[in-house]
Symmetry: C2
Amino acid sequence: MKKDIAKVTFLPEGETIEVEKGVSLLEASTRAGVYVSSICGGDGICGKCRLIVKKGEVKTRPTTLLAREDIKRGYVLACQSEVVGDVEVEVPPESRIEGKILIDMDAQRFRALYAPMKEQVTFRYEPLVQKIYLELPPATLQDNISDHARLYREIRRHKKIENMQTGLKVIRGLPHILREAGWKVTTTLGVRGATTEVIQVEKGNTKDKNFAIAIDVGTSTVVAHLVNLNTSETIDAEATYNSQRVYGEEVTRRIIYAELKGADKLREVIVEDINNLISILVSRNNIRLNDIMGLVCVGNTAMIHFLLGLDPSRIRKEPYIPVCTYPPPIRAAEVGIKINPRGLLYSIPGIASWVGADITAGILATGIYQVEELCILIDIGTNGEIVIGNKEWMVCCSASAGPAFEGSGVKSGMRAGEGAIERLEITEQGKVRYTTIGGGRPRGICGSGLIDIMAQLFKAGFVDRAGRLRAGIDGRVREQDGEFEFLVVPASQTDGDDIVITQPDIENLLRAKAAIFAAVNILIKSLNIEFSDIKRVHIAGGFGNYLSKENAITLGLIPDIDREKIQFVGNTSILGAKMALLSRQAFDTCYKIAKRITYYDLITYPGYMDEFMSAKFLPHTNGNRFPSVTEMKKVEKGV
Amino acid sequence: MKKDIAKVTFLPEGETIEVEKGVSLLEASTRAGVYVSSICGGDGICGKCRLIVKKGEVKTRPTTLLAREDIKRGYVLACQSEVVGDVEVEVPPESRIEGKILIDMDAQRFRALYAPMKEQVTFRYEPLVQKIYLELPPATLQDNISDHARLYREIRRHKKIENMQTGLKVIRGLPHILREAGWKVTTTLGVRGATTEVIQVEKGNTKDKNFAIAIDVGTSTVVAHLVNLNTSETIDAEATYNSQRVYGEEVTRRIIYAELKGADKLREVIVEDINNLISILVSRNNIRLNDIMGLVCVGNTAMIHFLLGLDPSRIRKEPYIPVCTYPPPIRAAEVGIKINPRGLLYSIPGIASWVGADITAGILATGIYQVEELCILIDIGTNGEIVIGNKEWMVCCSASAGPAFEGSGVKSGMRAGEGAIERLEITEQGKVRYTTIGGGRPRGICGSGLIDIMAQLFKAGFVDRAGRLRAGIDGRVREQDGEFEFLVVPASQTDGDDIVITQPDIENLLRAKAAIFAAVNILIKSLNIEFSDIKRVHIAGGFGNYLSKENAITLGLIPDIDREKIQFVGNTSILGAKMALLSRQAFDTCYKIAKRITYYDLITYPGYMDEFMSAKFLPHTNGNRFPSVTEMKKVEKGV
C-alpha cells in the first residue's frame, strides 16, 4: 500500500474506502457513499457531522460544538478531522441523512412546547426530487447501447426504479453532456405518479446543490421555506402577505372578482409573490435558481385553483364543485414559477371546495390520521378549518373567519415578523407589557399578540362581555374619529405610529373567534360527542409561535378544557408540505388522508348562525362553557 | 313498459338495453356498449356490421352486401335494421371490434400470395390512443367530488386503469366542457409507459372520429397510412420520396451534412414531408386533423434521430452509439408534426445504430420472434437489413445498398406508384411486355420492375454476367452521351420521355443487390448454418407488390432455394407500426424483440469486401450457388 493512502471504515455498515491522508472524514464519507449530515458544508459551524472514532486516530481541530463528555466518548466533527492513518469511525443515528426521522425547524421548535406524541410520525427519507451521482462505463464496441439506455442502466444500479420517463429535451442533451463530463454526471429524478422522471442531467457531481421549496399559499399570508434535500434541513424561511388581498380579503370576494374580470390577474399576482419569496431565499443563501428542482405547495382549494389557473367559480356555488383536488405534478414553469425550468411543482391533494391541501398537510403533520385517541385540529387562518377524528374516522369542516388573526383588517395588525408584538400582558396596575419578535421596537401586533390583548382587555375590565371598550376607566381608552380605541404603545416607543386596538378591530377579532368556535361546537354536537371525549387539541396557524393557552381560552377561541391536552403546533400546512417534499411515502399518505376524510358542510347547517351569535361574546353567552374564565372573573371581582 | 320502447339483447354476452322503437341495431349496440364494426358509419356501404337475429324481428332494408345463404341464417346489417319490438341478436366474431384479430390491407393483400403462417400473430385490440364515450352523473351536494375525480371515476367504470395522468390544460378545460356537454363527453386516452394519459375531453359522442397515422420514415421513401382505430382498417395510404435526399442519398452523407451544417434542416424537411402526407390523407378522406390523436413512426435509427432532433453524429463513428433507441412517447407537436395539438407520437424501439425500428416492426409483423423454425427476413431498402432467427435467438446485420431498388438513383426509376412499371418481361422475340401500377401509360420503373428488367436482360443476353450491356444485338441497346442504355419503352408510348435503363443504372442495381446478398451470405456463414437450414425467407420492402421470385433469384438478390419457402411480405415496417398502433400488447412486444436481438456488425467483418465483389456478378461469381440460374442459362444456350 502506498504511504500516503489510508483506509477509513464506516460502522456499523463496515463500508471501507481508501483515501489520501489529509482528506477530511466528511469528504471520505461522501466518497464512500455513507451520507453524513452537514448543513454548513464543512465549515465547522453547524456541528451536525458528528462521528465517533472507534479505532485509530484522526487529526482534529478544536471545536466548541462538542461537549466534554462527547469528546471523551470519541466524538469528532467529520469536517474538522483529517485522516492520518487507518481508522474506524461510527456514524451515530443523529448524523445520518438516509433513513433518518424527518426533522424540521418548526417541529423542533414546537417539540420544546409540548411532550412529543407517543406515535411519532416517521417516514422513509426519499425526496420527491433527488439527485444521484453516476459514473457510467464509457461506450465501447462491446458495450454499445444508446446513451439513453446507458443512463437508465446506471440509474437502476443505484436505485430500484421500475418505470422511468425522460423528456425529449433531456435526451437531446445527453450525448454532449455525457462525453463532456467524461461519463460522470449527476441526474435529478422526480416522482411523477407511478413513474420517475429524469428531470435533468448535469456534468460532474452536483449532489451538494440539491434544494427545494415548500410554499403555503394562504388567503392572507404566503410562506416559503427553503429546504436542503440532502440534509432535510429548512435552511431559511420567508413570508409575505398575499397580494391578491387587493381583490378581496376573503376567498369568496376574490372568486367573484375572478368571475367578473377573469382569474388571470389573481394568478399573476400570487405567482409574483411566490417568485419574490423564492428570489429572496436564494439570494440570501447564495443558491442558484437552477439548483431548485422541486416545489411543493399547499393552500386552500381556492388558492390552489388560482395558482394553477383553474376556474374557481364553482367553489362558491352549490353544489360547491372544485375543478380538481388532486392536481398532477407539473413543471413549475408552466404556471410561471421561476425555479429550474424543468423543476416540478407538486400540489398536496385537497379534500373539498372549502377544506384544502393545507388541512391534508396539517393532518399529515399532526399524525391525527394514525392515532387511537380522538383529536381535534383547529387551523386558524382567514378560513378556520376544523378536523376531528383518529385512525378510525375523520370529519372536517370550514368556517370563514376573516384575516384578523393574521394581523390583516386590524388597524395596528401585522404578520408574525420582525417587530411584531407577539406576547402582551396588562398588569394589575393597568400597564401594558409586551415582547416583540426579534426584540426590537414594536411595529404592530401579530395574531398571538391580538389574542393576548383581547383576553387581557377583558380580564382587566377595559372591554365588557360584548366586546365594547369602556371609556373613562383609563386614559388609554380614547376616542378617535368617533370610535373608541385602546392605546397599546404610544408612537414615541414604536417604530412608527401609535399602536392601538380599535372598536372595529375588536369586532373583527370577535367575529373571527366566533366563527371558529361555532364551527368547533357544531362539529362536536353533530358527532354526538363531548369536549371531554377529545384527548388532544392541536391549534395550528401562522399567528406567532408562543400563543397563551389561558388567553386563547379567556377569549373563547378554544374550548375551556384540561390545558395539558392543548398543543400549539404552528404552521402545520408548511410542515406537512415539507414532510411530503422529503418523503415520497409521506406524499402518498396525503392522498390516503384526503380520500379517507368526510367533509361536513357548515354552510347548509341550520343552527350555525345561532351558534355564531352566541360565540361573539367574551368568552361566550353561556358562561358554563368556560367555567375557568367565569371563575377568574368572579375572583377578580371579589365575588 | 311504454309502448314505444323495446328490449334488445346482444348475445353471447346477454347484454340487454331498452331503446325507442325505430332505433337502428347499430345505435342500440353502441348504447349497450357492445361494439360492432362499422367503417362507413351506418351508411350501409361497408357491410361490416353483420348481426344474426336469433329471436324477434327487425325491420331491415334490402342490401346487396349479404349473401342469400347469410340472409337465410338470419344475418342482417345492424345499420340497416330498425328495432320494431323485443329482439335477441348475436354478434358474430367477425363483426366485433374488441378482441378481434388485427386485419390489415397489406396483410390481406399478401395473404393472397402465400399460405398463412401456422402461428398466426394475434394481439389483443387495444389501440395506443383510444376514445371512450362517458355519461357522467351530474354533480350534487351528495356527490360533490371534483370534476377531475368525477372524470377519472367514470373512466375507471369503463376500463381498468391503475395509473392515470392528465395535463393541466385538459384539467383547466374540464368544468366548462362537462357542463356545456350536459356531462356527456368523449375522452381520448393515450398509453404513456406505465400510465395512461387523458389526452383530450370532447363534448358529446365523437367515438366515430377516431383516427391515427402510421409513418415509415425510410431513407428514400416516406410512407403514411391512415388508420381507423375503431375498425382497425387502413383507410388510405400515401407515399413520397424523402426530401432529405438532396442532402445525400445515403444515411452517412446526411449525417456528415448534419455535422457540418446542423441537423435542423434535415429535421425540418422530414417533418414537412410527413405533414404533407398527413395533409393529403386527411383532405382526401374528409377527416379533421384534430381527429388524429396518435401517430406511430418507424424508420432506421438515423431517420428517427433526424425526426426527433437527436444528434446523429455518433451513429457513423466507432463505437457507433445512438443517442436513444427507445424514444419516449411525446406530443407530435413537439417536433412540429401537425395532428391534434395534444396527439401523441410513438416511436417503435430500435435495435442499434444500423438496425432500426423498421426492423423491430418487421420482426413483429412476420412473427419470426415466436416461431420454432429458422427464418430469415431480408428488408430491401436504401439500407438492407437482414435478420436470422426464431423464438430461441435472433441476430441481425445491416448493409448499405443505396436507393436503387426504391427507384432512386436510376434514370427512369420511380416509387411504386401510379404509372410505375411493376412487372416486365422480355419475350423470346426480344419484345418488352410490362404492366403498370394503375394500368395507365408508364411513367417510370419501380423496384419490382427493375429487378425484372435486370433478370430479363441477363436471361435474354442483353447483358453479360458482369452486367455489361451488349451493343449490336438489337437496336434497343443504344449509345447516349458515351454510355450504353437499353430502351425499355419509347417516349411515344409513355407519359413523358423514353424509359431506359443505362449502364450506370445497371451498376447501381448490381451494387445494391451485391451489398444485400453479401450480408446475407456472411450472416449465414458466421452462424455456421446453410441456406437449406432456413425454412422461411421473408422478403420485405416497398419496391412493389408482385415481385417475381424467379427474377429475384436470377438477379442473385435472394438465395436460390426452394421457391415454396420464399414469401414477399411487402412493407413490414409500416405493417408492424400499425400492429403496434392497434395493440398496446404488440407495442410492448416490440421492446421485447428489440432487447432480445443481437446486432452483428458487418462493418468490422474482414471478408465483407470479397463477398461483395463476388456478388456483383449475375447471379454470382460462383454459379454453384445459383444452380437453377446456371441450369436455365445452359438450357437457353442449348448446352
